[in-house]
Symmetry: C2
Subunit: 332 residues, 2 copies
């Protein structure tokens, strides 16, 4: 098989099917110094994802990662999951037996923290963040020494009382230092928390979101995602948040700022066309690789006029090992 | 002053200023057999509204209502507030000393109940309603003998547990009879409640909203309205609810169905151009009257190219009494 030479993300190129073609695989891998990986498959039941799905690791994942390391590749694990910190992810990788360093993980909460601390860089003390989200957001803000309120504060997980309308309106319940409202996936929404977020936005706070994924795949079904948590504030305030997760290029800029890689020698690996692959194409990376163990099906990008087309695709990540499928499956 | 004859809701007509012009007022009132009134001003502090604002009654309100009754007018009190039932409103009118019957009140929850029972009329038992809202919605569903779940059920005001993802996905936590999801203003949102609503929508339930007001005026500020409660479901499901409150004409149809009035001999009285006045114009009523004790200012409809223009306007509702302003104010 003759390689096309340049693995551009252009939607006019026919994507290359790498599974079972050792020569093509080696040439593909050699094109890149850096691989950005989507991680998640939160969905245990349907077992969809790239590296794992829930507690299920796809066969050959650890070996594939080790192979790329042995060939000197820089690896970055990119996730939109805002509820987990990089430290949480390190534990997940360890539990899965996949080699990874905390510093190689880049989540949407960390992306938001980096953006707030290094790019937005509001002058203190008016740079406090009001959080609608879980501890993953809080941990990453702490890691960048950003002060915050809201989040997992149990005092806000309560009923809105009539007096609260007065206290929010008067500003008594507000922290004067808040200059940013940051939403992520929050499993504990309350009217009081939404009302406080709206009050801060009405005072001129910047509106950010770790990501705005509309859905969260879980248990073989779809649940409300981070986009459903920011939605009440969008409706009530008329404002739209800047999203710091895939496919927002604000996240790509932050990743590049931290890892200093050559975009033309980098490849995004993922299972979702409209987040992962689009993220790589819009970021003008040298290539994109779609893994078919996930959400998107090859029929979606092999059709004529497909909107988002990867440079290449494989049935499963471990196909990059170049072993026969039977052998790869037998080894785990 | 010579009257223009027809008080159409057309935006090309210059609205007539009635305050202080007894002849014009009498002629205006004589044009109509039916008056539809907006009621609410939830905002105690800023005292904005038509009949009242919070616990503050505008001077002369009761007398104006009595005057219209003495002239044989049919009165309907129309409100988008979904948290209160007609019975709740009757108590409010009584407390304010304003004469009104429960049957004259038409709220967005009642509008939704009427729509579900008489227009949508899904075949039982698959016509149960899953409610995201407060007791006002439940009471009105009961009044039309519609079965429901969700709503104020304290068992749903709890944390989403990991097992809940499985139970929602498997359908174990779902009621098989639910065919409709109805959202109103809910002061007790929870991830579990939103996840259940999403699951019902994914099963094909109809999506309705009592109203989709983005904000709730209160305590001199703005808080998240019913539109902020439906927003997570809109984001997560990609579906948009049919709204049964102002300015949706589904509400006007329901009002007409119940009260059997002649639209050309009916006038909508309200303080908001983009809800009340638009509701009357789109409903092709004979006239609309804007009361300036509320949200909208006359500058908004007196400018050239104004989008929504009432037939007439008064400074305050009691100006319809035709008394001098000083006298009206002294009388309360």
């Amino acid at each position: 098989m003759v390689l096309g030479g340049i693995f551009g993300g252009s939607s006019t190129t026919t994507p290359q099917y790498l599974t079972g073609d050792k020569t093509a695989i080696d040439a593909f891998i050699d094109q890149f110094d850096t691989f950005l990986f989507d991680c998640d498959g939160a969905d245990r039941r349907r077992r969809i994802g790239v590296l794992w799905s829930g507690d299920h690791k796809f066969p050959g994942t650890a070996e594939t990662i080790d192979m790329l390391r042995s060939r000197g590749k820089q690896l970055v694990f990119v996730t939109n999951n805002s509820t987990k910190s990089r430290a949480d992810y390190k534990k997940k990788f360890d539990g899965m037996g996949i080699s990874a360093e905390e510093e190689e993980v880049f989540g949407s909460s960390y992306s938001a923290a980096i953006y707030i601390a290094r790019i937005l860089a509001l002058p203190p003390p008016k740079n406090k963040v009001y959080v609608l989200g879980e501890s993953g957001v809080e941990q990453e803000l702490q890691s960048e020494n950003i002060s915050y309120c809201g989040g997992t504060d149990p005092l806000l997980r309560r009923e809105m009382m009539p007096i609260d309308f007065e206290s929010v309106a008067s500003g008594e319940l507000l922290d004067d230092d808040v200059g940013i409202v940051l939403t992520g996936l929050d499993f504990h929404p309350s009217y009081l928390k939404i009302a406080l977020g709206m009050a801060y936005l009405r005072r001129g706070a910047k509106f950010l979101a770790t990501n705005t994924d509309s859905t969260l795949p879980s248990a073989g079904s779809l649940f409300p995602g981070a986009g459903a948590i920011s939605a009440p504030l969008v409706a009530a305030s008329g404002q739209t948040p800047l999203a710091l997760g895939k496919p927002s290029q604000a996240m790509m800029d932050a990743i590049e700022g931290k890892f200093k890689f050559d975009r033309k020698r980098a490849c995004m690996v993922g299972d979702r066309l409209n987040t992962d692959i689009q993220f790589g194409i819009e970021g003008d990376l040298g290539g994109t690789l779609c893994v078919l163990t996930g959400v998107s099906k090859k029929e979606e990008f092999l059709v004529k006029d497909a909107k988002v087309v990867p440079s290449a695709y494989v049935d499963t990540l471990s196909d990059l090992l170049g072993e026969s499928k039977a052998k790869a499956e037998a080894s785990t």
